[in-house]
């Protein structure tokens, strides 16, 4: 084993170690503190965990690309809400009325198209104006949210379609529909980032934008494509979730960006870009969902949940840093 391999291994595995720790903790604590007779690690509960990870998880995959690319997207929560509105509202449009359930795929496509377009708009602004993505998407987070409210005022937008609900609630090979989407997206994005030229260029641009420009990579369109991907995935997440719930509040998806970024960072993606792994992001998503689920399993109250989630985030960051320190002789900067 080369020197450093152990710490690399530990680092890569840190998130999975953390997940195991959570599982052990909640299983034991659950024995004493939970009302439920079912164990925390009950198979059904774990399947639910995967399903419940889907809304954040699907977006997190897109965020990983964007962050590896050296950008960030704070507007995903708003895109999620807009796409949801389009999804539910379009099914009630008179032109699709005659189609019955045939309107469903059209509604899906419309929602996905809108999400992709909003992502494209972010990407285009980042590309053409050269304004930092953090600022562009911070603005869009407000602006897109404004659009959400403009669409239907403060009213929720609802359309409960039981066919859709049944589809969303279905289980195939034991896994829920949402889980399938999450797994498919994870696999697809993993493939994109590791096997394709686009993916490798994303790493290169995030690592050293100037070098990429000098090497003739078309950085602008490349970034725009990534913003379109995350827009698409935010919409897909909405499609998956709202197919089941059938109603969207104008403030739905608020703070999603924070949860998503948290998951991605827990998974070890560098905030400055250039490094990150899809599989670890998946781990990050599970870790967060597990934490939420576990805390409610043992009956922690609101203030404790807030406190614990905040501190754990910091603790994991700290641990990650400790694992990364090479030794005492490291340069002190």
């Amino acid at each position: 084993m080369q020197p450093g391999t152990l710490s690399t291994f530990l680092k890569r595995g840190a998130i999975w170690g953390f997940i195991v720790l959570e599982l052990i903790f909640f299983s034991i604590a659950g024995e004493f503190m939970s009302l439920s007779d079912n164990a925390f690690m009950d198979l059904d509960n774990m399947l639910l965990l995967l399903k419940q990870s889907a809304p954040i998880g699907i977006i997190a995959m897109g965020m990983t690309i964007v962050m590896i690319n050296g950008n960030i997207d704070l507007s995903v929560g708003a895109i999620y809400a807009i796409s949801a509105i389009i999804l539910l509202d379009s099914m009630t449009w008179p032109i699709f009325g005659a189609l019955g359930d045939g309107a469903i795929p059209i509604a899906w496509l419309l929602a996905l198209a809108v999400g992709t377009a909003l992502g494209a708009l972010n990407g285009l602004i980042v590309w053409k104006t050269g304004v930092d993505a953090f600022i562009v998407t911070l603005g869009a987070m407000l602006g897109y949210r404004g659009l959400v409210f403009m669409y239907n005022g403060e009213q929720p937008t609802s359309h409960l379609n039981w066919t859709l609900v049944d589809f969303a609630e279905a289980q195939f090979l034991g896994l829920h529909t949402a889980t399938w989407f999450l797994l498919l997206v994870t696999a697809a994005i993993w493939f994109l980032m590791n096997k394709t030229v686009h993916g490798r260029n994303a790493y290169a641009i995030g690592d050293n934008r100037e070098a990429a420009v000098n090497a003739g990579i078309r950085v602008g369109p490349h970034m725009m494509i990534n913003f379109m991907i995350i827009g698409f995935l935010a919409a897909l997440s909405a499609v998956v979730f709202y197919s089941e719930s059938g109603s969207v509040n104008p403030n739905d998806g608020e703070l999603y960006e924070l949860w998503v970024i948290t998951a991605v960072v827990l998974g070890g993606t560098k905030l400055t870009g250039g490094a990150g792994s899809i599989i670890s992001t998946f781990g990050g998503v599970l870790a967060i969902q597990l934490l939420r689920k576990g805390l409610s399993h043992i009956g922690a109250d609101t203030e404790t949940v807030n406190l614990v989630i905040g501190l754990i985030l910091i603790a994991v960051l700290f641990l990650d840093r400790q694992l990364n320190i090479k030794g005492k002789e490291e340069l002190k900067v």
């Binding site: 490798r200 790493y203 990429a212 000098n214 090497a215 003739g216 250039g274 002789e329 002190k332």
Partner: protein, 504 residues
């Protein structure tokens, strides 16, 4: 070669930046199969010419011809498509990616569906690496390579396309002699294939060794082209700086005083072990060794940036513990670091503020920074070091590479240190300024400073140092006095074949 048409020609190029006329009517032509040197002082406009050609900047006036055709270079991509390749002065690599991915950055071989063709990629890379005789392989992460090896990766890029013209901007600034030899072979190869080569360097010996013609810029203006075989260093220098240079070494006109700094048995993990040396007031101590020998790490330890794992540091006979640069500065140690962009300068700050940064706490009028005092310090060192800038308000990032380096040197000289450590002080510095800096270092020593010079250029250490510490692989192999040292025994020592028989 006279009746051939040029591979690439510039005509009447003008490029201005706010307050600076960086290129003022520059014209020259590169023939296929020639090595064409571009020379000039720091800030003369060499890198800017290159960036104009590469589509990174658009010229305000003038025309670029590729072959006979007037051409607009829209972007680096465009330039590349037209067969023009650039090896930039500043390393331009993605550290997290592999060597192969960096070499083929922007043009990874593809299979169907945009998939990376890894097999082809590695095969091609291996072929290039073989040519370059390097020790790393295609899959190594670039961030794990030494600076010199990273430079080799950069150079490897020139070999990936069928280039019409290749530009090298100071490629040897951080290469060892062995690697230079390889580089020159590569250049000769390209030359044979009829590629036009533009070679930017401040090192005369290289220029005269490998180039066919020399074009000279001064203050953004074209000063003429010379045939290398028909000219000499003196003429080129004169054209570059408008006067003759005195290259003689100022002899020691003073007594060497007592020991200012002493290091005993100093070790730092695997980086270096059991290092002993001392430096006296009035003396220039050189550190010479191959890249990776651990010299920089010793300097960083002395400057409080690394904690030693064993050994002690003594100043004026007293053992001292230095935990931070602030400690080091308080004890009168200054360090001119080797990486000016990363470690030396705050690029977005102006020249004055950069120069006075380490002493900003001491330059006070009441609770405020005494800006008048700062300006006068800046003016003093601008004159002393001949820094070319429109004024102290200029953002340092807009200065040419060499002038940036001078700001860093000025920054630490103005601290009046008792021990001055300079790490690769003349990397990227033009001949005129280089000899000025050498003289300055000698002069400082004669004023009673203890000076440590770390350099990878043998002529430089031989020229400025009174004694030379030869390092190999983290150990001191031998310490030479200037009487003992010869090129041969120095090379032996730094290759691990110690002059006095200690094998490594």
């Amino acid at each position: 070669m006279t009746d051939q048409q040029p591979a690439l020609r510039l005509e009447g190029i003008v490029k201005t930046f706010p307050g600076v006329r960086a290129l003022d009517n520059v014209s020259f032509a590169v023939m296929p199969g020639e090595v064409h040197a571009l020379m000039g002082e720091n800030g003369a406009g060499k890198s800017t010419s290159m960036k104009v050609l590469g589509g990174i900047y658009q010229p305000d006036e003038g025309t670029i011809y590729v072959g006979e055709k007037p051409t607009v270079m829209h972007s680096p991509l465009d330039a590349k498509a037209k067969g023009i390749v650039f090896i930039h002065q500043e390393l331009s690599l993605a550290e997290e990616l592999s060597v192969a991915e960096n070499i083929y950055l922007g043009e990874l071989p593809k299979k169907r569906f945009g998939l990376v063709d890894w097999d082809t990629l590695y095969a091609r890379t291996d072929k290039i690496l073989e040519k370059l005789k390097v020790s790393f392989n295609a899959k190594t992460r670039v961030g794990d390579l030494s600076i010199a090896n990273q430079q080799m990766v950069e150079i490897a890029r020139a070999l990936t396309v069928d280039a019409k013209a290749v530009f090298f901007d100071e490629p040897t600034a951080s290469l060892t002699d062995a690697e230079k030899v390889v580089l020159f072979e590569v250049i000769a190869d390209l030359q044979k294939q009829g590629v036009g080569i533009v070679y930017i360097s401040h090192r005369m010996e290289e220029i005269f060794k490998i180039t066919d013609r020399i074009s000279v810029l001064r203050d953004g203006q074209y000063r003429g082209t010379l045939n290398t075989r028909e000219t000499n260093e003196e003429e080129v220098t004169q054209l570059m700086i408008g006067r003759k240079l005195d290259l003689s070494r100022s002899a020691l006109t003073h007594e060497v005083g007592d020991v200012a700094l002493e290091v005993r048995g100093l070790s730092c993990g695997d980086l270096y072990r059991d290092v002993d040396f001392e430096v006296r007031r009035g003396e220039v101590l050189g550190f010479y060794g191959l890249v990776g020998a651990g010299r920089t790490e010793i300097a960083e330890t002395l400057f409080g940036l690394r904690d030693p794992s064993a050994g002690k540091i003594l100043m004026d006979g007293q053992e001292v513990r230095i935990h931070s640069p602030a400690d080091a500065i308080a004890r009168g140690i200054s360090l001119v670091p080797e990486d000016r962009k990363g470690q030396g300068l705050v690029l977005g700050m102006n020249c004055r503020d950069n120069m006075t940064l380490p002493q900003v706490d001491d330059l006070k009028a009441g609770p405020f920074v005494a800006e008048g005092a700062e300006v006068s310090i800046f003016d003093q060192y601008r004159d002393k070091l001949d820094i070319r800038t429109p004024g102290w308000k200029q953002t340092v990032g807009n200065l040419s590479g060499g002038n940036q380096q001078k700001i860093v040197i000025g920054k630490w000289l103005s601290m009046h240190p008792s021990v001055l450590i300079v790490d690769e002080p003349t990397r990227g510095i033009d001949v005129g300024s280089k000899s000025e800096i050498h003289n300055l270092l000698r002069e400082l020593a004669s004023q009673g400073y203890a000076v440590i010079v770390i350099s990878s250029e043998m002529p430089e250490v031989l020229h400025v140092a009174d004694r030379i510490v030869a390092m190999f692989n983290g150990r001191v192999m031998r310490t030479f006095t200037s009487e003992e040292v010869t090129e041969d025994n120095l090379i032996q020592a730094i290759s691990g074949l110690s002059g006095d028989g200690q094998a490594a």
